[in-house]
Each structure stands twice: as C-alpha cells, then as structure tokens.
C-alpha cells in the first residue's frame, strides 16, 4: 500500500524524466481479453434431447457444444472452458459406460478445469478414480478432504492458469455429501466448511500467488430461499472477498444472465449458472487494462 502511494506521488516527475528515453513497450497500456466458457450439471447428456421431448425438444448435445466452443476459441484464443460438476448420471450412457464417454468427450472439447458434484460419486469414489485417466483436464476441490480415500493427491484445491500473461486462479467447492449420497459411495471423503476454506484459498490466490482473476467452481447450489442458513453461491459471494466469478451448479438454475453480488469489501462478484444437461453454454468475457493506478477507473459490467 505504501509503495503504491509513493509511485503515484512520484508519477508526474517520473513521466517528465522518462520522456527523454525510448519508452519501454510496457508503458503503453496493454489491453487483454480472457473468455471464460462454462457448463454445469451436464448429467451424461451426450446427445441432444429428442425432437418430441416435452421440455427441451432438440436442445443441447455435446457435438453442437463442441462447434460453439471451437468458434469462440477462434475468436479469442485466450479462452478457458470450465465445468461445475455433476458430469455423471442422467442417461444410460452413464449406466453402461460408467462415465468413460463423458470424460473422454470433455477431454476432446479441451475442458481446462472441473469440480466434483455429488452425482459424480454415484458409482462410488473408486469408479470416479478409475475414470480419472480418461479426463485430460484437472479437477479442483478445496473443501472435500480426500486424504483417507483413493482420490488422495489426485484432486488439488486449486489450479493456476496463465493466459495472455493474466494469472487466473481457479478453486473448487463441493456440497455436503451426507444425506445426498450413500456413505458407502463417498467413503471417507471429509467435508470442510466451504466459507473458511474460501477465506484461506482466496487469501492464498490473491496475496501469495498474486492472481489477476479468481474463479470459484462451486457445486454448492445457487440459493436456498427456504433454508437461508444453508451455504449457497449467493451467500458465499456476500461474505467473502476477492472472488471475481462464481460458476455454480447443483440447483439446475437457469440464469438468464449472471447475478452481481456485492462482496464483503463492497466489490462486485459475478455468480453464474447455466441450468443443466448441456442446454446452454455460459460465456463471460473479462477485459483487462494494464495500469498502475488501479482505482482510477471502475469496471463496467455489461450483463
């Protein structure tokens, strides 16, 4: 804080001095653009819904999602593709192939990071473990404690990715499994308080790793109106800080656009979720300016 103030104070004289030198390129403002694409609760929906489906006729389909993602990647190569869990369970593809096809397709679509939903334990934690080699992307989960399970060391709390020199920290949160999944499926998976874990991880990502962008992949659920004490994406966003974006799942909430929540510091956190079954793809574009005086300009959010 002290250092930044000093730089700011010295700014005028600095400009006067460097005027005579060849300006290093970084002095010019660099504009950078990161695109975040995301899904949640795809639930083994590989093919589009049938044309005569009563709810979602001819919607969804992984092969169409692939085309859309490819188009967006051609627009902006600095694109990340993320998933907020419940990849498994929902069609016979899961019952017959145990999640193999889901993971292989996500690998072909070049997913970068996913978190684990409650249904991803449906065939037991061992089956999830045996499917992991089919996933050429990483899973993150910060509040499931896997140390006494086969997943120990295979799931990291967060992952850091650098795109166009922007450092992006992505961490995962899962819902409490007790009561949702049979204990003999999730075995000795421990559940840690998601709020406390978020406080630790965001401190780590912001202040130690110095991330420019912090994303939470959450399977906590969007909001529980009837049970306001149950932790959800909206309540998590309110009582924490330094999260730019929460990509949610579990509640199959079809948001027309992201919800903007004021966090504990009064700053904006976006919460988004795209329902379920691969019917939609979420897209959020972050535009960065490189500047020394961060507070001089606000962020324009167009949603």
């Amino acid at each position: 804080m002290k250092r930044r103030n000093f730089v700011k104070l010295g700014g005028a004289s600095v400009l006067a001095v460097v005027g005579g030198f060849t300006l290093p390129s970084f002095i010019a403002q660099q504009k950078r653009h990161i695109t975040i694409l995301h899904t949640n609760d795809t639930h083994s929906h590989i093919e589009p819904f049938k044309e005569n489906d009563s709810r979602n006729p001819n919607r969804g389909g992984v092969a169409r999602r692939a085309t859309l993602i490819e188009q967006i990647r051609q627009e902006n190569k600095n694109t990340l593709l993320l998933d907020a869990g419940d990849i498994f369970q929902g069609t016979p593809y899961f019952n017959y192939f145990g999640g193999e096809l889901e993971f292989k397709l996500m690998s072909l679509l070049k997913y970068d990071v996913a978190t684990i939903g409650n249904h991803d334990f449906d065939n037991s934690i061992e089956c999830l473990y045996t499917q992991l080699p089919n996933a050429k992307f990483d899973f993150v989960s910060a509040n499931y404690d896997f140390k006494n399970t086969v997943l120990d060391t295979h799931i990291k709390p967060y992952k850091i990715m650098i795109k166009d020199d922007i450092k992006i920290g992505i961490f995962g949160l899962g819902i409490e499994l007790e009561g949702l999944v049979s204990k003999n499926m999730y075995k000795e998976t421990g559940y840690l308080n998601p709020v406390e874990i978020t406080q630790d991880i965001t401190h780590q990502l912001k202040n130690v790793e110095k991330c420019d962008l912090i994303i939470c992949l959450s399977h906590l659920g969007y909001n529980y109106k009837r049970n306001p004490n149950k932790i959800s994406d909206l309540s998590l966003a309110k009582i924490t800080k330094n999260i730019d974006l929460i990509i949610g799942g579990h509640t199959h909430t079809f948001l027309p656009k992201p919800t903007i929540v004021k966090n504990i510091d009064g700053k904006n956190t976006l919460v988004n979720q795209v329902g379920a079954y691969g019917l939609n793809l979420g897209r959020i574009d972050f535009y960065f300016d490189e500047q020394n005086n961060k507070t001089s300009k606000g962020t324009t959010i167009l949603v």
Partner: protein, 248 residues
C-alpha cells in the same frame, strides 16, 4: 532533485514487473445450444460406437408380457402399479431380511413415478429405463400403526392408483375401510415395515407419513435395478387387477 527522479524511475521499472492488470469491462451471456448450431462431425463420430453399443443394450429383450401394462386407474389399481409394487417387494425382501432379520410387510410407491407404459410383447432394457428414469433407491421404513392409518387415508383420499403391493387387502366402504396386511387383520399395537423409495420417504408427493419413521433402512439399491433384475429372472410377466383394493 536528480536523485529523486532516478529513484522514481527505478520504482516504475520495478512496478512494471508486477503491473496491476485490472478488469475494466466484463460482458456475459448464456448461449442456448439448439439445432441452429451444426454438430461437430468429429465428436459425432467419436460418440457413434458408444451409441451403437447402447442401442444394442437397450434393445436386449429381458422378458415378455401378453398384455399392455399401463397406469390406467382401475378401482385404485393399475397393471403397471401392481407389477412395480410386487416386483420391488420380491427383489427387496431378501435384501432387507439379510440386513435386519425382519420382513417387509408391504410396499407403496407413487403412480407419478411410473414414467412410461409397457406395450404387449417383448420387454427390453429400454422399457425399464423409460419406466424408471430416476435413480431413486429402495428404502424400508418402520411405521407406527397410526402412520399406516395416515398412509391408507392418503391413498383413499388421493383417488390415484398409487402402486400398493399384493400384501394389502383394503376394502373401502364410503368413509370407512377394512384393512388386512398379509392376511392378518390390521393391528393397532404393531409396527409395520413398508417398502418405498428414498424420494417418497423424504416427503415426495406429500407422503409425509414416511418422514421420521421409527426406523429407516436404506437398501442402497436403485428402483430401476430392481425392475431390471426382476425382468431378467422372469420369463413372462403375469400381472392382474386383484383384491388388494376393493371399493364397495
């Protein structure tokens, strides 16, 4: 003065290394995936062999029925409902006995949970998936006699052919009923073990009498797996409308 300028310049260089990259604009949209997007042939080709195998599995014949099995409400019974309730008891009772040494007294499910009829002819794996697309699991609740009365009142009140197993003989006369369970007169001093699904046990379809039972046993076995298991071991399905519910 010169010295100060020099320091400032150094600081500028130093700060460049960790320049703050601040977000100035965010745009967002949730994009609908529909038939206006051309499917990637690469991905479709990758799915194809799995799809073929799945179609093969789904078409595999498990059993046979001479008649259509439907949810049609025939005096608070249905052919499909009777089949479902009875086959679940058939499959679940040995599991429950092994876990608890006790027997299931009867089963109740909801007619809304039966998602598709089965046409006369060969019965395939696909029929089982369409009948029961949900992943509900079988549970057994030990109910007090008062809750069994609440259950029967719910059943009569709803006028739906909610699947009840053949263990029940229910005679409905106007506002009264006479109940036998496994051939014995309903006993107010007894508790009863009732088979249902975890969905209904947790209050699905308003079946509140299943909540907070004296004892809850989760069999950790999907209703659909019970259907498939029963179909596999049964050559021909024999289903009828019988005396489990009689309306006078």
């Amino acid at each position: 003065m010169k010295q100060i300028h020099f320091i400032c310049l150094l600081l500028l260089f130093a700060s460049c290394k960790n320049t703050e990259k601040s977000v100035t604009k965010i745009t967002a949209k949730n994009i609908v995936i529909d038939s206006t997007i051309v499917a990637s042939s690469k991905i479709e080709n990758f799915i194809a062999p799995y799809k073929e195998k799945l179609i093969g599995e789904m078409e595999s014949v498990l059993t046979y029925t001479a008649n259509d099995l439907t949810k049609e409400n025939i005096g608070l019974q249905s052919t499909l409902g009777n089949l479902m309730a009875d086959l679940c008891v058939d499959i679940a009772n040995p599991m429950f006995k092994e876990k608890t040494n006790a027997s299931i007294d009867f089963a109740l499910f909801n007619s809304g949970g039966l998602r598709a009829s089965i046409d006369a002819g060969n019965v395939t794996t696909e029929n089982a998936f369409k009948l029961m697309p949900f992943d509900n699991e079988l549970v057994v609740v030990e109910l007090t006699s008062a809750k069994v009365v609440a259950l029967i009142k719910y059943f009569i009140d709803k006028q739906s052919a909610h699947p009840l197993s053949e263990n029940i003989n229910l005679l409905i006369k106007d506002d009264c009923f006479d109940l036998k369970i496994n051939g014995e007169k309903f006993n107010k001093n007894k508790t009863y073990n009732v088979l249902t699904s975890d969905y209904l046990q947790t209050g699905g379809d308003g079946m509140d009498f299943f909540k907070n039972p004296k004892k809850l046993t989760n069999l950790n076995y999907k209703v659909r797996d019970a259907v498939i298991g029963y179909f596999k071991k049964t050559d021909t399905l024999r289903v009828s409308i019988d005396n489990r519910v009689k309306i006078q």
